[in-house]
Amino acid sequence: MATHSVTEDCEQLRKAFAGWGTNEGLIISILAHRSSAQIKLIRETYAKTYGEDLLKDLDKELSSDFERVVVLWALDPAERDAFLANEATKRWTSSNQVLVEITCTRTSQQLLLAKQAYHARFKRSLEEDVASHATGDFSKLLIPLVSIYRYEGDEVNMTLAKSEAKILHEKISEKAYNHEDVIRILSTRSKAQINATLNRYKNEFGNDINKDLKTDPKDEFLAILRATVKCLTRPEKYFEKVLRLAINKRGTDEGALTRVVTTRAEIDMKIIKEEYHKRNSVTLDHAIGKDTTGDYEKMLLALIGHGDA
């Protein structure tokens, strides 16, 4: 494996912007094959050497879906999450699902770093923005999800799993989906504990909790609850589904595709690809190749192959 010199990378990137056109291929060949730590160094060196922010230059030179995937990738993971979360609270781009995704699939430390990046960039807390924009039942669930610093230990209390499975089943049977105990259990318990509780739920009552939460397919709150459960317990399955829906959608949902690829490339993309292949009988590479074009496609493919040697 070739060693990369940061200075060389900066020079090459600068060259890619030079002149009338932009050498997108060069940009992809460098950035898609660097880790977030390496990119951080590149940005620092670039700023020192040329007195400009690499991201601003990327923004100037690139456009549309390709720009978005490159810029998101070039952001530090915490900044990226902060940016996506902020977008999700804004009126025209609001998305409760994205907020659930970010708060429930990240580790407690990753979410904390995202919140610190949020303070630094937006001069407000993520909690404030979510609280100001979410309403009713959604805010009762989202605000705790955004705030809580979950315990990450493996310990499981089986007695508690039994009693909380019972509570969940009770409230769901009564259709009290927004009951404070449902929210309390999903938003405060550790992921290990929630897994144990939901396993118990299935053993005791026969169904996966998400099956019981599907009573009304049009109910948005139920959809968010199901997403919460999935993100907390089976993130790779959640991401597979987001990708599948994004690709199969008429016209492709580039926003979702870009978001999942850039946020998971360094984390669990390999597992997500396996899940995708299992579920769809084609590889993710193949599906993306069929559904997207040009530099955008090239960047995505390079990123999902990121972990591979």
Binding site: E128, P144, E152, E155, R184
Partner: protein, 329 residues
């Protein structure tokens, strides 16, 4: 100075004044006067001690077997008084995260629970300080503060308290003037409506108090005073947890000087007494100057003077030194 012969060779060597001093050394609510105890007790011979016991009816009881029995209640409380200095030393030395994590645990394991202590911890620490305490809590108890509070607190207090311990507030100075004006009005409306007793569950009130930055809230407090000619915490006075939340977020010195005054009052409850140690030890490096100034303003006597009157011995000296240190910073 009288010398009375009790038995052959046994003389009374202590004076009534010394007996009184010894009695006092045992009797403060806050600490014990170690120096007096040492000097006088070393001097005492058995006859002196008998006289002392016979003349201290609040400490020793007459027993049917004709000996002066130590009142067990007094003896228990004396054990606690000896501990005041020890506790202060331990709190001062301990890592603030561990200290605050232990206090969080204690606040809800006491009966009745100490909601004001929990609010104090969540609201007077910086976001990063309290986050540190949350991490320490996980380390010590293998569960998160959020889980713990959510299970222990029921009823209307749960929403507020869980939100207060969960939030990670922005600590900077940037504010949104328009939002402040609007939120000031929302608070006023919630306070003045007929459904006063539902204010603890008012979504907007909770949102404002539990997510906004401290600077934002202080500005709302100021705006409220200007527009409605009243202090926000006073208008929330009949709901203690809301009043304490506003005080701790907007004006900690007011909250701290109040609980110091209560701790040093004539007959404080044990929980109230502990505030004396906790506040002095935890605020000496933060805002002791402001607390002392507020205390002086509100209660008409310098904080140091009150401590010197209320506490004894090493404990008193330790507290006074910490206050002086804090005021010099």
């Amino acid at each position: 100075m009288g010398k009375k012969l009790k038995k052959e060779g046994e003389k009374i060597t202590t004076s009534p004044e010394e007996c009184e001093a010894l009695r006092k050394a045992f009797s403060g609510p806050h600490g014990v006067e170690e120096k007096s105890m040492l000097e006088i007790l070393v001097k005492c011979n058995p006859a002196d001690l008998t006289t002392f016991r016979k003349n201290s009816p609040y400490i020793f009881l007459d027993d049917e077997y004709c000996f002066e029995k130590w009142d067990p209640f007094h003896m228990k409380s004396l054990e606690i008084k000896f501990l005041h200095f020890q506790r202060a030393v331990i709190q001062r030395t301990m890592h603030p995260w561990e200290r605050d994590a232990l206090l969080v645990r204690k606040s809800l394991e006491e009966k009745p629970p100490l909601y004001n202590l929990l609010i104090e911890l969540a609201c007077t620490r910086t976001s990063d300080e309290f986050l540190g305490a949350r991490k320490a809590f996980q380390c010590l108890y293998s569960e998160s503060v959020e889980e713990f509070v959510a299970v222990k607190v029921q009823g209307f207090q749960r929403r507020l308290l869980v939100a207060l311990v969960s939030t990670y507030r922005y600590e900077g100075m940037q504010i949104d003037e328009a939002a402040i004006k609007l939120e000031c009005q929302k608070l006023a409306r919630a306070i003045k409506t007929d459904h006063r007793n539902e204010i603890e569950n008012d979504d907007e009130v909770l949102r404002i108090l539990t997510t906004r930055s401290k600077h934002h809230l202080k500005t709302i407090h100021k705006c409220y005073k200007e527009d409605y000619d009243s202090n926000l915490e006073e208008d929330l006075d009949d709901i203690q947890i809301l009043r304490d939340t506003v005080n701790c977020l907007c004006a900690p010195p007011i909250y701290f000087s109040k609980i110091l005054d209560t701790a040093m009052s004539i007959c404080p409850a044990e929980q109230e007494m502990e505030a004396l140690t906790r506040v002095i030890v935890t605020r000496t490096d933060v805002d002791m100057k402001d607390i002392a100034a507020e205390f002086d303003r509100k209660y008409g006597a310098p904080l140091i003077e009150r401590i010197e009157a209320a506490a004894l011995g090493n404990y008193r000296d330790f507290l006074v030194a910490l206050v002086k240190r804090g005021m010099a910073n």
